[in-house]
Amino acid sequence: MDEAVRVEGLWKRFGEQIAVSGIDLVLPAGKFIGLVGPNGAGKTTTLSMVTGLLRPDQGSVHVVGHDVWRDPAEVKARIGVLPEGLRLFERLSGRELLEYTGRLRGLPGEEVDKRATQLLDVLDLAGSQHKLVVDYSTGMRKKIGLASALLHNPEVLFLDEPFEGVDPVSAQTIRVVLERYTASGATVVFSSHVMELVESLCDWVAVMAAGRIRAQGTLEEVRGDATSLQDAFLELVGAGGLQDGSSLDWLGGGAR
């Protein structure tokens, strides 16, 4: 199995709070990989450290065989990133943003323009390409962010909550683009807390909770005997269902 990402003993602490506590993770290349977990599980922190945007307190990260912190040149050229909670250069138009990113990545100008035109078309942004990104909706922002992450044709794509706040039409567009991309042998790593989405998209899953990896493997392995990934996940993170009848029994029909 070719490895896309290898994480060993990764730690990150913010003051008193431990965000990521010594995780080990091996993600295979050429797969659609989901990193799932509840809010605050450490998904964003992990992805930030893996992509070189956040310095870990301890541990090592290798992406396609290169150390992220010792050999950033090799890694940064091979990965695409769509972070969550960070801005884009919003005072550029969609097309200008792609032109800017592509040229900073060192692609020749004509190639950038050609790829940008195609990406804008496929992602249904051609009509708004001259609008400033600051005036884009959430879905449009995610799509233009995805386009700038794909522009240099990376080997591994890291997406933090790419479907969060995105309308169904845009979500479907993003999905189609990502499926086409992985079909050609590239790797996608994305985080989400929507289990149905992960279950329908991914063939490899890592489950995270409270800063630790609770399970990792193919979808079937992680799901095990449970009927759905949702159930398996709830069991893994130890959040059972609501106890029946004990509370909120006044809620709903019947006596007011």
């Binding site: 992509t51 070189g52 945007l53 956040l54 310095r55 950033p72 040149a73 890694v75 940064k76 050229a77 990133v81 972070p83 909670g85 960070l86 801005r87 884009l88 250069f89 919003e90 005072r91 550029l92 138009s93 097309r95 200008e96 032109e99 800017y100 990113t101 040229r103 900073l104 990545r105 060192g106 100008g109 009509g127 708004s128 390409q129 001259h130 609008k131 400033l132 600051v134 005036d135 909706s137 700038s148």
Partner: protein, 543 residues
């Protein structure tokens, strides 16, 4: 069980007479509710009321004392014009000042625009602002009303002036509601503080000039024009009537009445449009890209690769990002105002021209903070000190594209006004050296002491990072001064030792010195930037 007859909604009050008491009561309730806040805010509310009334009373007293003064009419006419200007711009800068000013709050009510305009106008006459205006207008009329005819005209003029002022504020607010609630409006609000700051400089300078002139005569020509501009024209009518020029008085009064009519018509039209059309957010979403702004013109002139790309982005941000724009305009304005105004007042020196270079040099500081958290996009493409060097150099070059010609222009202008052409070469030399030192220390400070710039509001430093910003700017400026010290020492030495024939040498020396210092600063800052990317990103992501 008792059955209650359902309350039938009566017809909405759709005449001005029926609506007026409702609106006035609403306004009174809002004023009263200003008192129902926490103790501190109530105290501030009352204090501001007392202060403005006291100020109005003093103005009234001053205007009464002005009666009989030869320039009374000039002062009064100009004062009215300034007052009207204040009313016009108030709603743009403080859109939340008066809630009844916001017509979008009335959109859901079944009201027609015409009666609404009358009722809203009546309601706007209630409040501290109108009371303040009444004091001023009363004083103005009394100051210039000589004779029975003038008093009669004065009554009409006073009422007209207040109505025009109030209608002006309302009409401007209604016409710009869409702007004020849109992104462009929020961008404008960021710039508004700046306009006030620069405006204050100009007013301050004007007042000083007037004080030096020792009289009000210089104002006469302005007053001659303003006396035909409503609502100042109605106050001028009182003066004209006092002089016996009744046709002129009537014409001036009619002009103000006409203006009132036009304003009310404009206001009503804006109201109708606001109440019948979708709001700004809906329109913005539906709007298709109208501007076919192709991004070729600028990039064709810039070098290829990271240098040109980063330069283009930096220059675009100077124009498009309100925070960056505000900082740039401030630097440009102060860099010009200080040397030129000092030269105008005769207190200047050619060396003040270095101010332009120094002020613009501060734009190199906190480069990555200006990117906000979008810095990650840059960080993802920097994988060696070489990349960081190119990035920093591109930003310095973008700055120089504007700064070099501007500093040169200010230097030429200042030298020309003072007439000391002999000092031109050394001033240029010192300017360029200072600019180089600012760029060098700015690059270093950007890498070492980055901080966030909040995008909304007037703050320029994120909470908790004031210390960082302080070190970055003042430490950097101090360092820049130290770096410039050898050249300064050389200049002083040449002056003292009488080597005046060789002073021109300071131009090539200063230029070369500035250039070398810039290169050195960039070389030092580059590895630091490349090594601290995650730390810089964390520091600039707090806003």
């Amino acid at each position: 069980m008792s059955t209650t007859t359902p309350v039938k909604p009566t017809a909405p009050p759709n005449t001005t007479a029926a609506l007026t008491p409702v609106m006035v009561r609403l306004k009174l309730s809002l004023l009263r509710n200003g008192l129902r806040q926490s103790a501190g805010r109530r105290a501030a509310y009352i204090a501001s009321m007392v202060f403005s009334l006291l100020f109005a009373a003093l103005q009234l007293l001053g205007l009464l004392l002005l009666r009989g003064h030869e320039h009374a009419a000039t002062v009064v006419v100009l004062l009215t014009a300034v007052l009207a200007l204040g009313w016009a711009v108030m709603p743009l800068f403080f859109p939340s000042g008066d809630e009844t000013l916001d017509p979008t709050r009335l959109v859901m009510l079944p009201l027609r625009a015409k009666p609404l305009v009358g009722a809203l106008l009546a309601a706007s006459l209630v409040g501290i602002g109108p009371l303040f205006t009444l004091c001023l207008v009363l004083g103005s009329v009394i100051a210039v009303a000589h004779g029975a005819a003038a008093v009669v005209v004065g009554v009409f003029a006073g009422v007209l002036t207040i109505l025009v002022c109030v209608a002006l504020a309302r009409a401007v607010a209604a016409a710009n509601t869409r702007l004020l609630t849109s992104r462009k409006g929020r961008d404008l609000a960021v710039l508004s503080g700046l306009i006030i700051a620069v405006g204050a400089q100009v007013v301050n300078f004007g007042a000083q000039r007037l004080g030096r002139a020792g009289g009000l005569e210089p104002l006469e020509p302005y007053a001659d024009v303003v006396r035909w501009i409503p609502p100042a024209s109605s106050i001028a009518a009182v003066d004209s009537a006092g002089d016996g020029a009744y046709p002129v008085a009537l014409a001036q009064l009619a002009l103000s009445a006409l203006a009132l009519g036009a304003l009310l018509w404009w206001w009503q039209r804006s109201l109708t449009r606001l109440m019948t059309m979708p709001d700004g957010s809906t329109l913005a979403a539906a709007e298709q890209s109208a501007d076919k702004e192709r991004s070729t013109g600028l990039s064709r002139l810039l070098p290829a690769g990271r240098t040109g790309t980063a330069m283009e982005r930096t220059l675009r941000y100077v124009w498009r990002d309100p925070k960056t724009k505000a900082a740039w305009v401030t630097s440009l304005a102060i860099g010009l105002i200080v040397p030129v105004f000092n030269a105008l007042q005769g207190t200047g020196s050619v060396y003040f021209a270095c101010f332009a270079a120094g002020m613009l040099g501060t734009q190199m500081y906190n480069q990555f903070g200006q990117d906000t958290s979008a810095f990650w996009m840059v960080a993802m493409t920097i994988s060696s000190p070489r990349d960081a060097y190119l990035e920093l150099r591109a930003r310095a070059l973008a700055l120089l594209v504007v700064t070099l010609p501007y500093a040169a222009l200010v230097t030429l202008l200042t030298t020309g006004m003072i007439g000391d052409w002999g000092a031109l070469p050394e001033t240029f030399g010192l300017s360029f050296a200072l600019l180089g030192a600012m760029l060098a220390t700015g690059a270093w400070a950007s890498a070492s002491y980055a901080y966030s710039i909040p995008q909304e509001g007037h703050k320029n430093v994120a909470p908790g990072q004031a210390g960082l910003a302080w070190i970055s700017i003042f430490g950097g400026m101090l360092a820049a001064a130290v770096i410039c010290a050898p050249l300064l020492a050389l200049t002083i030495w040449m002056h003292l030792s009488g080597a005046h024939d060789w002073l021109w040498l300071l131009l090539p020396i200063g230029t070369a010195y500035g250039w070398l210092v810039t290169l050195g600063g960039l070389r030092l800052a580059a590895p630091r930037t490349a090594n601290r990317l995650p730390e810089i990103l964390a520091a600039v992501s707090k806003g």
